[in-house]
């Protein structure tokens, strides 16, 4: 099973709830071996898409497949796909171990798997406590443990950073990276770009149920640039070029756009050459700008 690479294919997926179209003609693929960020503002249709992918919600039209099969046709779904959609999904009267044992039985996994996952997710000490006393982070980890029972090739996480502290988030980043490096398919949704930018290789951005952008982060994000206003722009450009790394674009007289060097770098270089700098602005990357537009400009017509 370890060499098994599963691609997620979403094709012309649409979901309508009465008058409201939650997802509209959505098409994208998620590749194995990388961590893919599924981004968009709240209510963009991320959760609905992930639930359609796993057969919890029936699409109005279109298809969603994993390794070429719809979720309901997978021979042993929990072995192929692990999903965490709701961090708080556990019976308050069950202990963490009870909860995992129920789903271990359901998927046909041995109790040794339960113990291994309790250890892996740092729940060993809390294993025999009822989940009613659990923090959101502990429930989040319990649900992640449940999703991992079948050692799945595909992992789907809906807003995993909710309830995780920075330490937990750092752990999750490392863990997901490790899974992707093993050739697994990892899809992580988020409405906060900054939470996932250190995590993801590829991104899919949707808004109002429609695809806005998809591709490798490095291509979509673009290199960040520094805008410099200087009465000594010509000399500064010469000095910058002499330093090797950066590329320079003359925006207008006295204004340069510098790529490949950050704002402190530009300032230091200018100071070293005794050149004046009147303004120094770091331009946000294009993906960041795009995301900002999506989340702030609510007046954009669909």
């Amino acid at each position: 099973m370890s060499g098994d690479r599963q691609t997620i294919d979403i094709s012309h997926l649409t979901k309508r709830y009465g008058e409201v179209t939650a997802v509209r003609d959505l098409t994208f693929t998620v590749e194995p071996g990388v961590v893919t960020g599924f981004l968009g503002p709240n209510g963009a249709g991320k959760t609905t898409t992930m639930r359609m992918l796993t057969g919890l919600v029936s699409p109005t039209s279109g298809t969603a497949t994993i390794g070429g099969r719809p979720y309901r046709r997978l021979p042993r779904p929990s072995r192929t796909v692990g999903a965490v959609f709701d961090a708080s999904a556990c019976h308050p009267g069950h202990t963490a171990r009870d909860h995992l044992r129920v789903y271990a039985a359901m998927g046909g996994y041995p109790d040794s798997r339960v113990t291994a996952l309790l250890d892996l997710l740092g729940l060993a000490e809390a294993a025999d406590r009822r989940t009613r006393g659990f923090s959101t982070g502990m429930r989040q980890r319990l649900n992640l443990a449940t999703a991992l029972l079948g050692d799945p090739r595909v992992l789907l996480l809906d807003e995993p950073s909710n309830g995780l502290d920075p330490e937990g988030m750092r752990w999750l980043r490392g863990f997901l990276r490790q899974l992707a490096d093993q050739g697994r398919t990892v899809l992580v949704s988020s409405h906060v770009l900054s939470e996932v930018q250190q995590l993801v290789d590829d991104v899919i951005v949707i808004r109002r149920g429609e695809l806005v952008a998809a591709g490798p982060w490095s291509r979509l994000a673009g290199a960040s640039a520094v805008l410099v206003s200087s009465p000594d722009a010509d000399q500064l450009a010469t000095a910058l070029l002499a330093s090797g790394e950066p590329s320079i674009e003359v925006v207008q007289a006295g204004r340069l756009r510098v790529r490949g060097l950050d704002a402190p770098g530009v300032a230091d270089l200018a100071a070293a050459h005794g050149l004046r700098v009147h303004e120094l602005v770091t331009e946000t990357s294009s993906l960041e700008q795009l995301f900002l537009d999506l989340t702030t400009d609510k007046a954009v017509s669909p």
């Binding site: 919890l56 709701d86 999904a89 019976h91 069950h94 359901m106």
Partner: protein, 265 residues
Amino acid sequence: MSHLVKAEFRRLLSTRMWAALPLAALLLGGGLMGAMALIGPENFDPPMPGLHTEAGVRSILGILGYTALVPAAAGTLAVTSEYRHRTAAVTFLFAPRRWQVLAAKLATYGVAGLAYGLILAGSAAVAVFAAAAFRDVPLGLPAGTVLGLLARIGLAMVVYTLIGIGVGALLRNQVVALCVVIGYLYMGEALLMMIPGVNHLYPILPGGATAALTDFTYLADAMSQRLGSTPLQLLPPAAGALLLTAYALAAALLAVIIPMRRDIT
């Protein structure tokens, strides 16, 4: 499928309901029956026929039939707690053929309902015979007949557990489903009996069919006497049993079919 039944048993056995159900069966079977037999129906207010009469024995057994709302509520909880605690999505991720999940719940809770019914009937038998012996009252029915009637009541508990699961699958909201199940069994049928015209439906309602099992006509008779209407005619016991089985099957079918296409959000 056997994986799912095993999982449902684990789910049931790791909640407190596991301990509460047999306790409730003991309290209602042994406790309630023992208390009624000790006090004697002739000392009730209003008085009912005594234990030395057939009607008296049938009456207190009939009252035991009304405790069916306990296993019905347990069945309802089995399904609705999955929606309330949002584990339904996890469960359907592990088992996308949803009818199998509900079939496993029906099987598991069918067994639990049977265990409940056995404890209820068994402890009731011990309590009634012991109380009669203690008060030195000869029972109005032979011991074999009493045991047979109790066995019917015990089996009826299985039916009510399954009905509870069906209602839970249909309504999904825990509070609403519990209110409907308990409200209907506790008061709803009694209210229906008071409505002229509708009250003729009583014999074919679950409560009427359960009463038919033990030929418990006291409540229905009292009601029609008070309303001055013609006495209701219960079904023969065998027909009552068949009708209850049909209700259980209908509830099971409902439970299995309804969740198939619904969106889990």
